[in-house]
């Protein structure tokens, strides 16, 4: 099972701030593929209801289920960053990783038939481009523990004020 207690960083979205503009998807597809195609984005905005909106990318689970499910050992998780990388020489596009992912964060590129997973723009100095572009600062690169700490601090300051 996926875990929300992963030690790894991932792109987290604050649903209270996300307005559903999809700019993260444009930027991701452009950064990764050179064109604007939200179908090819590795982060996806989701609108479950009119006002229930968020964006989801790879959660970098510990002992990632997608890696375990991969029958060709094409998915390799970096032990330091937790980023799941796809080995194009091994991936056969079977989509088992997609089924294994509890967050719906993996897709298959129809042109290359390869799995595509958020890599936090690890090769770019300025980091994840979706975070840089998000006009509402809804996205951040963080860990579950850092988010929890932030939530506690927020609650504490609110309670101190009241």
């Amino acid at each position: 099972m996926a875990t929300s207690t992963s030690k790894y960083k991932y792109i987290a979205c604050d649903p209270a701030k996300c307005v559903g503009c999809q700019l993260c998807e444009y930027i991701c597809s452009y950064t990764k593929n050179g064109d604007y195609n939200t179908y090819r984005s590795r982060i996806r905005t989701v609108r479950a209801e009119e006002v229930l909106i968020t964006a989801i990318a790879c959660h970098t689970c510990e002992d990632a289920p997608c890696v375990i499910a991969c029958t060709t050992d094409a998915l390799i998780q970096d032990p330091v960053s937790g980023i799941v990388r796809v080995d194009p020489s091994r991936c056969d596009g079977c989509a088992w990783c997609i089924e294994a992912c509890d967050f719906g964060a993996i897709s298959i590129n129809p042109a290359t038939k390869l799995a595509e997973i958020c890599d936090q723009c690890e090769t770019l100095e300025e980091g994840p481009q979706c975070v840089k572009w998000c006009p509402k600062d809804a996205l951040e690169l963080t860990t579950p523990e850092l988010r929890a700490q932030k939530a506690r601090r927020k609650l504490a300051s609110e309670e101190a004020l009241t």
Binding site: A16, V19, G20, C21, Q22, L23, Y26, I27, S29, Y30, N33, G34, D35, Y36, N37, T38, Y39, R40, E50, V51, I53, P110, W133, P135, K136
Partner: protein, 628 residues
């Protein structure tokens, strides 16, 4: 070509066939996209003189030049048909995913011909077109229809433009909804309904390619950044509903069917009140970094659970304009319109006409019999439940709703013929399209923009309220500059409506919204997208051409100068109190204003377009048909 595919998709609903029309680059350079290209497609494909609800009236959709790119607020499209309300061009804009999906499916626009025998919806799956059974969707609201189609097709990335029950029932101000946004005005829902077309659904899986992505990314990032600052705070924080108090202060907030310009309970229906008591969340259209849609909910009372996006135009129409000070009833009325798929502005102004007609004794309680109130009810101003019930009756064409669904122009004519009344004196429409939330008696420049407006009573196309309210000109008097001021405002708006870019971005290019502040960067955006070499003048001409093709359309459909007029009330009854007390527009003033306006446009005094002018705009074929 970059930024365009060069292809227009044609679909015939009668013969169930589709074909591709390839357009040359010169076509795109002239008409660009949005309302201009949609109107041009309508010009090319309509059966001239047809009944708007007959098969000869095409549905024309045109994407924007920036749809599917990161250019902020560029995800909008134009929709054009002959309007069943006005008999002239009906051009509307809507934003969000639908147009982006269409662009990614590889189409610059769609033209739908003829009518289907059975209810259908279209599924455009990249380059494949399916005409699918829509019987199971009948009676469903706009949002529910989108969801049902996504479920049927098994893909939550399918984006749909739909009509609701109002469009199915041929409510003349039924509209088209996609992704919670509306192509709201001029009655497109009825046109779709007459063709038995319930929805157009699109899945587009391809990328959009532009000429100079590096430049486009840089420009887009800077504009996105600027859009988080003071230039858009009005829209981001309270949304346009903040205008309620502004308009009330200057005495131009339409109140009780435009009888007054000041509403004593304005505070209770203000954007500020909405924000404090009803706001749930602010959401954005796709591709928009501003986010202005104030999702507002009713938390108690008989309408508990009602929720929809609220902005100024629908709010004034349902609240002050109907004398209603209960925000909860107003939200419910707007929700009925949004889910039922009808224009909340036309609906509100039709409801207020009904209320005034009741208060003046033209209608009686028994005229309002319906399933909910078998004995009828008394729709006085301020009666929120009556407003809610009238909206439902109009949507369903129940009882008197049958007549009201035709709008104030037709309903007043029918009523006056039947009852010998004079309800036309308070039928607040121009050319058949109900008026926006600005009392033009106190906005003299705007009054000519509205009177001459090619799609009738519309603030979005004229936009000349801006110089009036900002004090660029004296709004209480006229002088010989007003023809030019009205022309400039309308052609400025037409640039945005054609690209299209949402006008809320207008200050984010350089901090200044005027032509000098915006056109150079818009030219840069166009050039980075297409590889063209547009300059300031080219951008300016986009608006001139957009307005000209719509005007030419109207002339060909039989427009004459007599059509450019204002509602009886604005020409005869001064505003009774408030900061604009005493304002009225005399026949003489209107005549002078129109003379100035036509002269400023370079038209004849009869409002016709000289051949030379059309040729200079690159519209030779139009010159041949309507030029003088």
């Amino acid at each position: 070509m970059y930024g365009y595919s060069g292809k227009i998709l044609h679909i015939d609903l009668k013969d169930k066939k589709d074909w591709i029309e390839e357009k040359p680059e010169s076509f795109y350079k002239t008409y660009i996209g949005g309302v201009s290209m949609a109107s041009r497609l309508c010009w090319e494909n309509i059966e001239v003189g047809c009944d708007p609800l007959s098969p000869g009236n095409p549905i024309c959709i045109a994407n924007g030049i920036f749809a599917g790119t990161p250019v902020p607020v560029g995800g909008k499209y134009g929709l054009a048909s002959k309007s069943p309300l006005t008999g002239f061009i009906g051009d509307s804009l809507s934003g969000s995913w639908f147009t982006i999906a269409l662009k990614r499916a590889g189409w610059d626009g769609i033209v739908i011909h003829n009518s289907s025998e059975e209810w259908v919806y279209l599924f455009i799956d990249d380059d494949r077109v399916q005409i699918r059974d829509a019987k199971y969707l009948l009676g469903k609201g706009t949002f529910a229809t989108e969801e049902a189609i996504r479920e049927e097709l098994g893909d939550d990335q399918v984006r749909s433009a739909t009509i609701g029950p109002a469009g199915e029932n041929l409510v003349l101000f039924g509209n088209v909804t996609n992704d919670g946004r509306q192509a709201g005005r001029t009655g497109h829902g009825a046109v779709w309904g007459s063709k038995k077309l319930k929805a157009i659904s699109v899945r587009g899986t391809n990328g959009v390619r532009v000429a100079d992505p590096d430049t486009l990314m840089k420009l887009s990032f800077d504009i996105t950044d600027a859009a988080q600052g003071p230039h858009t705070s009005k829209y981001r924080l309270l949304g346009t509903s903040t205008n309620v108090l502004n308009m009330n202060k200057i005495g131009l907030l339409p109140t009780r069917n435009y009888q007054q310009g000041v509403f004593e309970d304005a505070e209770l229906v203000s954007g500020e009140y909405l924000d404090e008591h009803h706001k749930v969340k602010i959401i954005a259209c796709a591709q928009c970094p501003i986010a202005c849609e104030q999702m507002s909910a009713v938390k108690d009372g008989p309408y508990e659970g009602a929720m929809t996006g609220v902005e100024y135009e629908c709010l004034y129409a349902m609240s002050s304009n109907c004398g209603i000070s209960d925000m909860r009833a107003a939200i419910r009325m707007i929700e009925i319109c949004d889910h039922g798929g009808m224009d909340a502005m036309s609906t509100g102004v039709t409801v207020s006409w009904t209320m005034e007609s009741f208060e003046r004794g033209v209608f009686k309680k028994e005229d309002f019999k319906c399933k909910k109130y078998p004995e009828g009810f008394e729709p006085t101003f301020g009666n929120g439940e009556a407003g809610v019930t009238l909206c439902e009756m109009i949507r369903d064409r129940e009882g008197i709703g049958e007549m009201l669904s035709l709008g104030t122009k037709r309903a007043s004519k029918m009523t006056d013929e039947e009852r010998g009344s004079e309800t036309y004196k308070w039928a607040m429409n121009i050319k058949g399209l109900e008026n926006p939330g600005y009392d033009a008696r106190g906005l003299k420049t705007f009054s000519v923009g509205l009177a001459a407006g090619v799609r009738g009573g519309c603030h979005n196309r004229s936009a000349a309220y801006d110089p009036d309210i900002k004090g660029v000109v004296d709004r209480f008097t006229i002088d010989d500059t007003r023809g030019e001021v009205a022309r400039d405002a309308e052609e400025y708006a037409a640039v945005y409506d054609t690209l299209p870019l949402c006008k809320f971005i207008r200050r984010c290019f350089t901090g200044k919204a005027d032509r000098a502040g915006a056109w150079p960067m818009i030219a840069d955006l166009i050039n980075a997208t297409t590889g063209w070499e547009f300059d300031y003048d080219d951008v300016d001409r986009i608006g001139v051409r957009a307005h000209t093709i719509k005007k030419a359309f109207n002339i060909r459909e039989g427009w004459t100068r007599a059509d450019d007029t204002l509602p009886y009330r604005w020409l005869h009854e001064p505003i009774p109190e408030g900061a604009s007390a005493g304002c009225v527009i005399s026949e003489n003033e209107l005549t002078q204003l129109l003379d100035m306006y036509y002269a400023a446009k370079g038209w004849t005094n009869e409002g016709l377009i000289p051949k030379d002018l059309l040729i200079s705009l690159g519209m030779e074929d139009v010159a041949e048909e309507v030029g003088v």
